[in-house]
């Protein structure tokens, strides 16, 4: 008995005990607010709506509908395309900026630059989406400026209430999320590797392409995932600036739950969206592992 007690006392002082203590609040939180709702969503997706009641008999009917009805397929595909476009735009624009901060800015000014990058976070996401509405609108900042300058006669209409507006707004909102991981991976590159590449006969561009870029790839992949995963399920931005052609799968999920009172169908679409995101992300991670490892 004494030995069990001693062992327990010893265990309470060990790393594993303190580790357990440290993760348990977050773990409990995640369990209560993530795992349980997730399980509920999955459960709902196999049930069906019977007027005001939920019919709890197992059925694939929702999934069948989600796959066969064109509206769902089209929204899912559009979500993937918009989100893909946002990801590409964000990463392509973020890389040069991250590169600039990492390689061209003096060490003591880097923190300031990173701080500046996070300025968009000072206002809420919702307000930023509204602001883009003001900027891109028919009588918005952009159109009136261009008209005053005499560059256009008619206001541009392709910039608001369509997928372009969604891409612009989301790319702006997620830019810091892309810049930071790329910056971190660039910072970790030993600068003597670049000198070694130059010393071994590579031009500046050759050294970038054969050393900097492959070593920054993990950061680029992280950036792409961080942008892609949340944007595919974004609801606010398409709702505010997307117009009818810019709506995405999340808007349909909201419609199913709240307007059409069909929680099981909404749950099904949510599960499918999650599966699609997971599948694409896994493929992406697998591909990047292959590229960045020794060939």
């Amino acid at each position: 008995m004494a030995t069990t007690w001693t062992r327990f006392r010893r265990w309470t002082r060990s790393d594993s005990a303190s580790g357990l203590l440290l993760v348990s609040p977050a773990a409990l939180f995640a369990l209560a607010l993530l795992a349980v709702p997730l399980a509920a969503v999955v459960a709902f997706s196999f049930w069906s709506q019977d007027y005001l009641e939920i019919d709890r008999t197992f059925t694939w009917a929702n999934y069948r509908a989600a796959v066969t009805e064109p509206i769902y397929r089209e929204l899912m595909l559009r979500s993937v395309l918009i989100s893909g476009a946002v990801t590409i735009a964000t990463v392509v624009l973020a890389f040069p900026l991250a590169y600039f901060i990492s390689f061209k800015v003096a060490d003591r000014h880097k923190a300031l630059w990173i701080f500046l990058v996070t300025i968009p976070f000072w206002t809420s996401y919702l307000i930023r989406a509204f602001l883009w509405k003001v900027i891109l609108g028919f009588n918005g900042v952009l159109n009136t400026s261009l008209q005053t300058l005499g560059l256009i006669d008619e206001p541009l209409s392709f910039i608001l209430y369509n997928p372009n507006a969604v891409v612009i707004t989301l790319a702006h909102a997620f830019a810091p999320f892309a810049i930071l991981p790329i910056f971190v991976s660039l910072e970790r590159i030993d600068r003597s590797l670049l000198e070694a590449a130059r010393d071994l006969g590579e031009s500046r561009f050759g050294a970038f392409w054969r050393v900097t870029f492959p070593l920054a790839l993990p950061g680029v992949v992280a950036a792409a995932l961080i942008v892609f995963i949340p944007t595919i399920g974004d609801y606010v931005t398409p709702r505010l600036v997307g117009g009818p052609d810019g709506l995405m799968i999340a808007n349909m999920i909201q419609t199913q739950f709240l307007r059409l009172n069909n929680a099981p169908m909404g749950a099904t679409l949510a599960v499918i969206a999650m599966l699609v995101v997971s599948a694409i992300s896994l493929v992406f991670v697998a591909l990047s592992r292959r590229w960045s490892g020794p060939r």
């Binding site: 030993d190 070694a196 010393d199 006969g201 960045s292 020794p294």
Partner: protein
């Protein structure tokens, strides 16, 4: 003809004057070392030769060609970095073959060249390994192979052995020396380790504060240093106050001796001087032991036992200055204790005179 010729090379980093006028000629096939404490400009000088730094003033010629404006990738030099700079995302073979991309060789020829280079550094068959699965010594060898495969005119080595443990370092010193002889390429080694420089080099430039203090072969450097600073940086030396008049010097604690010109590497002038002597050139006599050499008396103030050697600090009679004496621990020789009386044997030819 010299393969490297530097004249009046200066380098400023903002307010910091890193190189203050370097003139240097290095011959083809030479093993040359730049030796000095950290911050003396030796690494800057190497980077100037490699093309990573522009000179502020002066010229750099590599086999007679002016290197002004020629970037590192177009110079006939290759470098082994202090951190080795092994590309972590590439395999060993890809690292070694990195510089061959533009070479006019078939894929098979490149693979053969890589295997040959790996064999040269004792890593045959390691090509498929991941670069980050290598030990420090192996990374060092990969860095060497990667530079040598391009057959540079000059190989630059920036403290290549400083990250290795003592045993491995000694082994690599011998291997580097052997490798240099077999490939016949000029090696320029930057090091702060005087022993390493002495062991490996044909010639050594000792640098302090952006200037070359002395340029000589290892023996001259050790036996006839031009200044107390150089003497103290290379090995151990004791200094005694002295006075020189004509050919004769009077050394506090030792006595009179006549010195020749080569014992005054910084020049000879009558007056007060500092007289240097290496620990191994003095001997402690056992009680009753006779000698033909000159004799001085004193007392042991400290002794340090090294196993094969014992180092004694001895206070000489008639002076405050102490000398350090190293003695081999031969069979039958007693190790003296602190406070023991000491009879010190010395020779006039061992003295070095500094102004």
């Amino acid at each position: 003809m010299s393969i490297i010729s530097l004249s009046g090379v200066q380098k400023h980093f903002g307010d910091y004057h890193a190189l203050r006028g370097i003139d240097l000629e290095i011959a083809g096939g030479e093993f040359f070392s730049l030796l000095g404490p950290s911050g003396c400009g030796k690494t800057t000088l190497l980077r100037v030769i490699a093309g990573f730094e522009d000179v502020s003033e002066g010229t750099v010629l590599l086999s007679g060609r002016d290197m002004e404006g020629v970037p590192a990738n177009r110079r006939p030099t290759n470098m082994v970095f202090q951190s080795y700079a092994i590309f972590p995302h590439l395999s060993v073979a890809e690292n070694v073959g990195f510089g061959l991309r533009r070479a006019a060789m078939s894929r098979g020829e490149k693979a053969a060249a890589v295997e040959e280079a790996l064999g040269m550094v004792g890593l045959a068959g390691y090509g498929a390994r991941k670069a980050n699965a290598l030990s420090g010594g192996q990374r060092q060898r990969v860095a060497l192979a990667r530079a040598l495969i391009l057959k540079p005119k000059v190989l630059l080595l920036d403290e290549p052995l400083s990250a290795l443990d003592k045993k491995l370092r000694e082994q690599m010193q011998a291997e580097l020396r052997r490798l240099q002889r077999s490939v016949g390429i000029t090696f320029i080694l930057v090091t702060h380790d005087q022993e390493e420089a002495l062991i490996m080099s044909d010639r050594i430039a000792v640098m302090f504060e952006g200037r070359i203090a002395q340029l000589a072969d290892p023996q001259t450097l050790y036996r006839r240093p031009v200044s107390r600073q150089v003497a103290q940086f290379i090995g151990m030396m004791s200094f005694l106050p002295g006075r020189i008049a004509g050919a004769e010097v009077t050394v506090a604690g030792l006595g009179r001796a006549s010195v020749e010109d080569d014992q005054c590497p910084a020049g000879r002038a009558d007056g007060d001087v500092s007289v240097g002597i290496r620990p191994e050139l003095l001997s402690l006599l056992a009680p009753g032991e006779d000698t033909d050499r000159q004799l001085a008396h004193g007392a042991v103030t400290e002794r340090t036992y090294y196993g094969d050697m014992t180092y004694y600090d001895v206070a000489l009679d008639g002076t405050d200055a102490e000398v350090t004496i190293s003695m081999k621990n031969l069979p039958g020789r007693a190790v003296l204790e602190r406070g023991d009386a000491a009879r010190v044997a010395w020779d006039a030819r061992s003295l070095v005179i500094f102004p």
